[in-house]
Assembly symmetry: C2
Homo-oligomer: 505 residues x 2
């Protein structure tokens, strides 16, 4: 049943091995790369688990999500230890990330209890118009393939946001583990599968496949109904093309890359100079710059002291080890392409794959002349500062930026009239508009939107973080003229589950 891409003449690796970014040496046992039949088995097991999971009410699924959250919290120390060995992200950050991951599961549990995820809309029969009784609600789409990201070994990985939102929607998942943390992935999967079973759900709500060669067969498998992906533009594009090229194309929700423009307005630059320089370097180097929301592009006014303040701080900034040798190599390649514009360079910390922060500089005219190259994302602690003299030229340039997950504006009160124009120019290009803040840090809350136009995401109407993330995995059904007893409970006259419903007047 698998329509796989042809096997290349050079055989794919037979195992996925984790390494320490600090020492470059192996961590844990290798995870065997999944063969075609193993992908087939993982999807088949998830398909078998789907009907019972879809049939549970939102409140019933909420209990299971909370049980998984509790199990992750209980295993926190063990999980953080293996993740730190594989990613070098450090205990404090990783401890927080487990909490973010369990908190995300609990947020979806809360949403399920609130019931709005079923999107119930009722149009009562109107005999004068000849209109039947029509009642609409959302149902789970089927088995979801999730491609884990390198940079959040918990929150965007095996039990991360895509998985949590798919479970909440009523969908089993098959996760393709990320090569940068196979041992962490396996440890999380063991905790999760045990917790699922203990909570009375099928362990097969979570399947794992490993190895880059498993990605294509997973996306093209007839049993997969939709895909969630967080990763690189090249990798995401290739999988998006496979999903779109199927005999039966399926939705592909990918987050591919983002430069996250930040605009400092003139009065803010003058009044908050040191604060802004410190905030920028902090955001740029946080987690060694390995965030989708890293501030890759900063616009600051000419003729202020801000550029100097940034340069001064950048020179004393310290980098750290990147998540993998591959990511380190891509970063070094990226920086050399912009070498002629270097404003300042910090120092690499110790560690096998450590890199140094870099800040480049261009004026607005130079930036526009080379916009395609200079707006490519550099994954790591590197950013371009663009100085602008003219507000109208700034606004025109903002309107031409590629799609990003975020756009930020720094102001003081005197900047507010201009801030409104800047926000209007940025809004169509980004998914989240931030005021007087930095883009790193994505709050997990109902109103969050973590999306944006291409290349930020492949599906601009959807988000991979926040309460509406589960909308990706739901499809509507309209029920026309059904006897009340044969309707799903959410649509019956008595509304026994008490879900919120919109009724046409």
């Amino acid at each position: 049943m698998i329509e796989s891409t042809p096997t290349p003449a050079t055989a794919a690796p037979t195992a996925v091995q984790g390494y320490s970014p600090r020492t470059g040496t192996p961590v844990g046992e290798p995870l065997p790369a999944s063969t075609g039949p193993e992908v087939e088995r993982a999807v088949a097991a998830a398909q078998a688990a789907a009907p019972a999971w879809a049939a549970r009410s939102g409140a019933e699924r909420a209990e299971v999500l909370e049980a998984v959250a509790d199990a992750l919290d209980a295993a926190r120390a063990e999980l953080v230890a293996v993740a730190d060995a594989e990613t070098a992200l450090g205990e404090p950050r990783l401890t927080g990330e487990v909490g973010r991951t369990s908190g995300q599961l609990r947020m979806f549990a809360g949403l399920l209890r609130a019931g709005a995820h079923v999107g119930a809309v009722l149009s009562p029969a109107d005999p004068t118009l000849g209109r039947p009784d029509v009642r609409r609600m959302l149902h789970p789409i089927g088995v979801v393939a999730v491609f884990a990201a390198s940079n959040f070994p918990f929150a965007f990985s095996v039990a991360g946001g895509d998985t949590a939102s798919a479970w909440a929607a009523g969908c089993p998942v098959v996760v393709k583990v990320h090569e940068a943390h196979p041992a962490t992935s396996l440890a999380v999967a063991r905790v999760v599968r045990t917790a699922l079973t203990t909570a009375g759900a099928s362990a097969d709500l979570l399947g794992l496949v490993a190895g880059r060669a498993a990605g294509g067969p997973l996306v093209t498998h007839p049993g997969i109904a939709a895909v969630g992906f967080t990763g690189s533009l090249a990798g995401g594009r290739a999988l998006f093309d496979l999903a779109s090229g199927r005999p039966d194309p399926i939705p592909f929700f990918g987050e591919l890359g983002s430069v996250n423009p930040v605009v400092v307005l003139p009065a803010a630059a003058a009044e908050r100079t040191e604060d802004l320089a410190a905030g920028y370097l902090g955001s740029l180097t946080l987690g060694t710059g390995q965030f989708c929301t890293n501030p890759g592009l900063l616009f600051v006014p000419e003729d202020t002291k801000l550029l100097d303040a940034i340069a001064t701080r950048a020179r004393t900034a310290t980098g750290g080890p990147m998540l993998s040798a591959r990511i380190r190599d891509a970063y070094e390649g990226g920086t050399s392409a912009r070498a002629g514009r270097e404003l300042a360079r910090g120092t690499a910390a110790e560690g096998a794959w450590a890199v140094a922060p870099v800040v480049w500089h261009a004026d607005l005219a130079e930036f526009l002349a080379h916009a395609a190259e200079l707006t490519e994302e550099t994954f790591g602690p590197a950013g371009l500062v663009v100085t602008y003299a003219d507000e109208d030229a700034l606004l025109a340039a903002l309107g031409r930026l590629p799609g990003s997950l975020t756009g930020s504006v720094h102001t003081v009160e005197a900047d507010h009239p201009l801030a409104a124009r800047v926000a209007a120019a940025l809004r169509p290009r980004v998914g989240r508009l931030i005021h007087n803040g930095w883009p790193t840090g994505v709050a997990v809350c109902w109103a969050m939107h973590h999306g944006g136009p291409w290349p930020a995401t492949t599906a601009p109407g959807h988000t991979s973080v926040g309460g509406t993330a589960l909308e990706r995995w739901l499809v509507p059904t309209a029920y026309q003229d059904w006897p009340d007893a044969l309707l799903p409970p959410e649509l019956r006259d008595a509304n026994p589950l008490g879900v919120p419903r919109v009724t046409q007047p």
Copy 2:
């Protein structure tokens, strides 16, 4: 700026000419086929009109939609005359369809006034969690390309559902007119553009392009943000591939084809025999079968009189002229491929492109052995009746059907236990589940869902009819920590527009 497909060596037609299906002779003046520069101009004009339209509140847009609805109603006689000449669908049907089209515009106006289309969600700041203030709402996606359908010269054409929902969402549209009714398209566009101007909106909220060769350049134009399409599987797939293959892929919402299974349960077949036979033939031949929701596949129990009753009525059924010579040819080709299974054939009415209704028959085993061929849509008054002996075999077969817009179940009280199982089997394969009704006739109401899995649509989470149709043209923005005065009115503390909002507890 146009990335067009290569011009074939044989030049594309330079004009689109309408013809009478009754006589095969030309109707009205030919519409010049749009050249590349003309597509460019149409998109540029729509882009220029976009910001002012997007900036209007929902209530302001509602007034304009109602003005267009009034203008269509006022021009009804003129519009029906030209459409009847080009389509032969008849005055009563076409008069009703103008009302459906203006009613649809008014439905969206009502939704805009209710304000729920902005999808406002508020997550208040929580300092104990370090959570910022996040407020989310939806904004228009940009200029939408609409591909008109042949079979609804008003309701799925120039001012039809895709256009109305895009306008409601705040998006200008460029419509690629359908070759089967160019004169009608031009007449509607004139009425609409005048009404837009009179109502104080830009006439360029509606642009027209004509000719099949204009489709590719329109879909690949960088100024187009999303596509709405209703038409054939082959044409829709080609355009979907173009949209997905762009350097910046865009959402493509296509409705491509549907066999609309109808299942008659045993007790209903016995008790309601004549009623069901009459209802089936009525639905099958309505509008000469030229509906996306035509009941192409009917499951009936063996050993009842229903099959005979259907055959008897089919022999006396009368067809009619098809919308175009091309559609007539496709119908005749389709019927010959299934010739060995003919149960009954009616008579063609008078008219150049008239065809006769046909009903085929297969038992469940035969059907399953040739399912791929026998579930292909035949556009026109033709359907396959499948007889089943065994309930479990029926249920298994239903689970293997291709995606459809609708699935219908006919019951009497004694059938209800089986009806629940049939509905559960059909639900994942269809967008609308109908009880004791026929699929033709799609009520325009808030709860309607007109969608379904591939090949019914390219985007299973979305609908082209109903209140949620405008969700296709909206993208979210999250506003983080913005001063109240700089937020859109829908998100300000005071909620001056009074839109419904969900607030995270």
